[in-house]
Amino acid sequence: MDGTKIIKGSLSLVVLQLLQHNKRMYGYEITKAVKEGSKGKTKITESALYPTLRKLLEEGLLETESEIVDGRERKYYLLTRKGVKESDNKLIAMQEAIISLQRLLKYKLGHG
């Protein structure tokens, strides 16, 4: 099993964190960042990314601003204040989950 599935399962967190570190990004830029950030090991498709962005928008974690770039409208996604908090919370929860998983994977039953 490759890491792509695990990352895709945490796509909301990935998007929130990317936006937290880059202020604002557009859809294509996010897919590129995931690909480059994982050194080509992970690719997210448009069919996975856009529903996630929509969901985050509906939850009030993101907002958008549009600009004309290279002759076409480009929609940038930004974190709202609520989004910043949620991004931090999700990151802490993910780090705790990873630590728990690491412990679990090394767990040996005590005898006696």
Partner: protein, 239 residues
């Protein structure tokens, strides 16, 4: 190598390509267009031997087997949810706004007005006052519906058809209006089949209530569309 930027003609060609695949909503087209154009530009930069058409084909393949549909669906679902929220607020705003007083006053004034009209039209005793009243009601409702359709369609054409096509269940104001139109027709039929179902006062009250509800539905619906246009910009307005 320098990054290739698509020309205006190439962007128009991409837009047509997207529209040909059944994507009609301006916001969805704009969102897909930028993503699609970025991909085409990247492919043309990375593989200079690729011509525009080949890059477009490859870029489209990268959207997967469902093409643009998943992206469009995500957008439409999100929009429908937002529309539903706006509807609820618009209906509540209409109830709480001073406009409701005007709507109720029209209903209140309409009551004696109907009775007078009914008496006037029955001067030659061709029809009973009640039959006249119902005919007036049907005519007003019909005229109202046509006006409402024309006003909404002319002012908010694209959005009106979009909301109607994608989430007809959300257009509850229109549904309620339809129920009232149907009930007035039922009363008319009932009146002809079983005379004296209602007396003239009862009939006038029914007419007033129906007209008031129609006004309320129209007002809430118009308010909703205004809010949506404010939220999504004027792209949905018919040019």
């Amino acid at each position: 190598m320098d990054k290739i930027i698509l020309s205006e003609e190439q962007l128009i060609a991409l837009e047509k390509f997207i529209q040909k695949r059944g994507i009609k909503e301006p916001d969805v087209i704009a969102e897909i267009l930028d993503h699609f154009a970025c991909k085409v530009e990247e492919l043309m930069t990375e593989y200079p031997h690729n011509n525009f058409e080949t890059a477009v084909r490859r870029a489209h393949q990268s959207f997967g087997t469902t093409g643009f549909r998943t992206l469009a669906k995500a957008y439409e679902d999100g929009l429908s949810n937002e529309i539903w929220h706006v509807y609820k607020h618009a209906a509540l705003d209409t109830i709480l706004s001073p406009k409701i007083l005007l709507i109720l006053s029209i209903g209140f004034v309409a009551n004696p007005f109907y009775k007078i009209l009914a008496q006037l039209f029955t001067y030659n005793n061709w029809l009973t006052p009640k039959d006249c009243l119902l005919l007036i009601l049907i005519s007003i409702l019909l005229l109202w519906r046509i006006t409402m359709y024309i006003v909404l369609n002319n002012s908010f054409g694209n959005l009106f058809s979009f909301t109607k096509k994608n989430r007809p269940q959300n257009l509850w104001q229109l549904k309620v209006g339809r129920v009232f139109s149907l009930s007035s027709i039922s009363i008319l039929i009932g009146q002809f089949m079983i005379p004296n179902t209602f007396n003239i006062n009862g009939m006038a009250i029914v007419c007033s209530v129906l007209i008031t509800m129609e006004l309320f539905c129209f007002s809430a619906h118009e308010e909703t569309i205004r809010c949506i246009v404010a939220l999504y910009g004027a792209k949905h307005l018919t040019s």
